[in-house]
C-alpha cells in the first residue's frame, strides 16, 4: 500500500445511514461507537427527497472491535431502526476522490 494515502490514516471508517428520517438514528449509531471506544471525528447530514443521508467519519484506532464486528452490530441496529447503515474503510472514498 501507498503509505501516504493508505496506512497513515488506516483506521478511519465512514459510516453512512440512508433511510426515512426519524428520531434516534444518530443516537443509536453513536451509542454503538461509544460502547466500543470508537471516536467520532465528523458528522454531516442532508435530506435527499425525504430521505436522511447521514455520514460519520470515525476513528477505530482504539476500538474494541474490528471493522467486521462493527458492521455486524450496525446491521442489527439498522434492522431495529429501519434504515440502511453501512461502514466502509475510508480509503474506498479517499482513493476515489483525492489524488
Amino acid at each position: 500500500m501507498d503509505k501516504g494515502q493508505g496506512q497513515g490514516k488506516g483506521n478511519r471508517v465512514i459510516i453512512t445511514v440512508l433511510g426515512p428520517d426519524k428520531v434516534g438514528i444518530i443516537a443509536g449509531v453513536a451509542q454503538i461507537l461509544t460502547e466500543n471506544n470508537i471516536n467520532i471525528l465528523d458528522i454531516s447530514q442532508t435530506i435527499l427527497q425525504e430521505f436522511l443521508a447521514m455520514v460519520m467519519i470515525a476513528d477505530m484506532e482504539k476500538s474494541k472491535l474490528d471493522l467486521n464486528d462493527l458492521k455486524k452490530q450496525l446491521l442489527v441496529k439498522s434492522k431495529e431502526i429501519g434504515v440502511r447503515i453501512d461502514a466502509q474503510h475510508e480509503d474506498a472514498f479517499r482513493y476515489m476522490h483525492r489524488i
Partner: protein, 452 residues
C-alpha cells in the same frame, strides 16, 4: 476531510449504478510443474495452484466487506498449458484440464484460464495436442477456459491455426450441444494476446510475467451511463471530458483493491484492466451508454464514433488513475452479456458486420455471438480471420468468441445463464469463403509504416 457529496457519490455508484470490481485474477506460473510423468505433472499443477491461491477467495471477500465494494469474481490464470505439458507422452491433454478444474474448485474460484496455446507462427507438437483436446476438455470441465493465439503483428496470421480453430469451435459446440454449445463461451481465439489479461475467457499468465501476480478488472458501465444521461445537452468534447473524469474515479477503486489484494496475498500487483465490462443486469450495459449519448439504438450510424469517444475517454481517465494499466483495456461489447446489445441484435439494428467494424475502436469486437448451428467451420474461420486481421494491422489485441449453437437458426434465442446471459442467433453471410480458408498457410507480418 471528505465531503458529504463525495461520499454520497461513491455510495450511489455502488448501490444504484452497479459499480463493482468484476474480477480479481491471480496469475500463477506453472512452468516449474513440467515433468515427464503426466501424473506427477498434474500433482505439481494441483499443489501449486491450491497453495498459491488458497487465500484468494477469502481475501477477496474480506476486501469487499471492508471497503464496501462488491468483488464479483475471484479467478485464476495460469501459464499456457501447452508450454508445460509438452514433455509428457500424453496424446490428449483433457486430464490436465480436469486437473485445473479440480484445483479451481478446491480454492473456490469460478473460472481458471490458461488451457491455451500460442501458435501465431506455427504449432509445436504440444500445441497441436492441446488444441485437439479443447472440445473434450471444455465438455468435461466446468471452470476451465481455453484460448488460442493465432496471430501477432510481428508474426502475421497462422491461417492453418485459424482454419483449425473454425473446426475446433464447431466440435466444441457439438460436444456441449446439450447446453447450447456453452463450451464455446469458454473458448477465445486471439490476435496479440495480452499476457496479463484478468478477464475470462482469455486470461493467461504469460511467459514474461512473474511467479505470481494479481490483476484486476473493473466494471462500471452504469456509472458512466448515469453521467452521460445527466449531461444531455453538452457537446461531445465536454462529454468526453466528463466520461474521462468518471473513468478516473472508477479505476481508482480497481487500483485500490488490486494493491490491497496483492499486499494481503503477498504477491506483486500486476495491472488494472480498465475495460468497461457489461453484465446482463439492467443498467449495467455498454450499449445503454451509447444510446444515452443520442443513438436511437446501438448499431445504427454513429455507433463507431460514439464507441471510439467512449473507449478513448476511458483510457485517458483510467491511465491517470492507475499506476499500471494493462490487459485488454478497451471496451467490451459481448452480445449475450449485455441485454441492450442483445436487444439491438434482435431488432436488426446490430449486425455481425457492424460488430466487426467496432473492433477497430474497442478491444474485443466479436464476443459472445451466437450464430446458426449449421454455420460451416470455413465460415467461422473466415469470421475469425477478418477479426484477427484488424488486430494484426492495427497493432492491438482482438479476439473472437463465437458460438455456432447446435440445432438453432437465425432468430432463435439462446440462454447461457448467469453472467454469460442470453443472445439471439445472428445471421452470417451465405456466400462462400471456403476456397480462401482452405488455402491455409501464413499471412506475413504487416508493414508498419505507410500507415493508411
Amino acid at each position: 476531510m471528505l465531503t458529504l457529496a463525495e461520499i454520497m457519490e461513491t455510495i450511489k455508484m455502488v448501490q444504484e449504478e452497479n459499480l463493482d470490481i468484476r474480477t480479481v485474477t491471480m496469475g500463477i506460473n506453472l512452468q516449474d510443474c513440467a515433468d515427464h510423468d503426466p501424473i506427477a505433472t498434474q500433482q505439481k499443477i494441483y499443489r501449486k495452484i491450491t497453495s498459491r491461491a488458497k487465500n484468494l477467495v477469502t481475501v477477496g471477500n474480506d476486501l469487499a466487506r471492508e471497503y464496501g465494494i462488491p468483488i464479483v469474481n475471484k479467478r485464476i490464470a495460469v501459464t499456457p498449458v501447452s508450454l508445460i505439458t509438452g514433455c509428457t507422452p500424453e496424446a490428449d491433454y483433457t486430464d490436465f484440464a480436469l486437473c485445473l478444474d479440480r484445483a479451481a474448485a478446491a480454492v473456490g474460484v469460478n473460472f481458471i484460464g490458461g488451457f491455451s496455446a500460442l501458435v501465431h507462427k506455427g504449432f509445436t507438437t504440444s500445441d497441436e495436442k492441446l488444441i485437439y483436446s479443447i472440445p473434450t476438455a471444455l465438455e468435461q470441465t466446468e471452470r476451465v477456459c481455453a484460448s488460442v493465439n493465432v496471430a501477432t503483428t510481428k508474426a502475421g496470421i497462422n491461417m492453418d491455426a485459424v482454419y483449425l480453430m473454425g473446426k475446433i469451435i464447431k466440435q466444441t459446440a457439438q460436444a456441449t450441444a446439450a447446453q447450447n454449445g456453452l463450451g464455446c463461451a469458454k473458448l477465445v481465439v486471439f490476435c496479440n494476446i495480452p499476457e496479463d489479461n484478468p478477464f475470462m475467457a482469455g486470461a493467461i499468465h504469460g511467459v514474461g510475467e512473474p511467479e505470481c501476480t494479481i490483476n484486476v478488472g473493473i466494471s462500471g458501465p452504469g456509472v458512466i451511463k448515469s453521467v452521460v444521461e445527466k449531461n444531455k445537452r453538452c457537446d461531445l468534447g465536454v462529454l468526453s471530458e466528463i466520461v474521462k473524469k468518471t473513468a478516473f474515479k472508477i479505476t481508482r477503486m480497481g487500483e485500490l483493491i488490486g494493491r490491497l489484494a496483492a499486499d494481503r496475498l503477498g504477491v506483486p500487483f500486476g495491472i488494472v484492466d480498465i475495460s468497461l465490462a457489461p453484465t446482463p443486469a439492467v443498467g449495467d450495459s455498454v450499449a445503454e451508454i451509447l444510446e444515452a449519448m443520442g443513438l436511437e439504438r446501438f448499431g445504427t450510424h454513429g455507433t463507431t464514433a460514439a464507441l471510439a469517444l467512449l473507449t478513448d475517454a476511458l483510457k485517458k481517465g483510467g491511465a491517470m488513475a492507475s499506476s499500471y494499466v494493462g490487459g485488454l483495456s478497451g471496451t467490451f461489447i459481448p452480445v449475450s452479456e449485455d441485454a441492450c446489445l442483445a436487444k439491438a441484435a434482435v431488432e436488426g439494428a446490430l449486425s455481425l458486420d457492424k460488430l466487426e467494424a467496432l473492433t477497430g475502436v474497442c478491444s474485443v469486437g466479436l464476443d459472445m455471438i451466437a450464430v446458426p448451428g449449421d454455420t460451416s467451420p470455413e465460415t467461422i474461420a473466415a469470421i475469425i480471420a477478418d477479426e484477427i486481421s484488424i488486430g494484426v494491422i492495427n497493432r492491438k489485441s482482438t479476439a473472437v468468441r463465437i458460438i455456432p449453437v447446435p440445432g438453432k437458426k437465425v432468430g432463435d434465442y439462446v440462454e447461457f445463464g448467469g453472467l454469460l446471459g442470453r443472445a439471439p442467433v445472428m445471421s452470417v453471410h451465405h456466400l462462400s469463403s471456403h476456397e480462401f480458408i482452405r488455402r491455409g498457410g501464413r499471412i506475413p507480418a504487416p508493414l508498419c509504416s505507410l500507415g493508411n
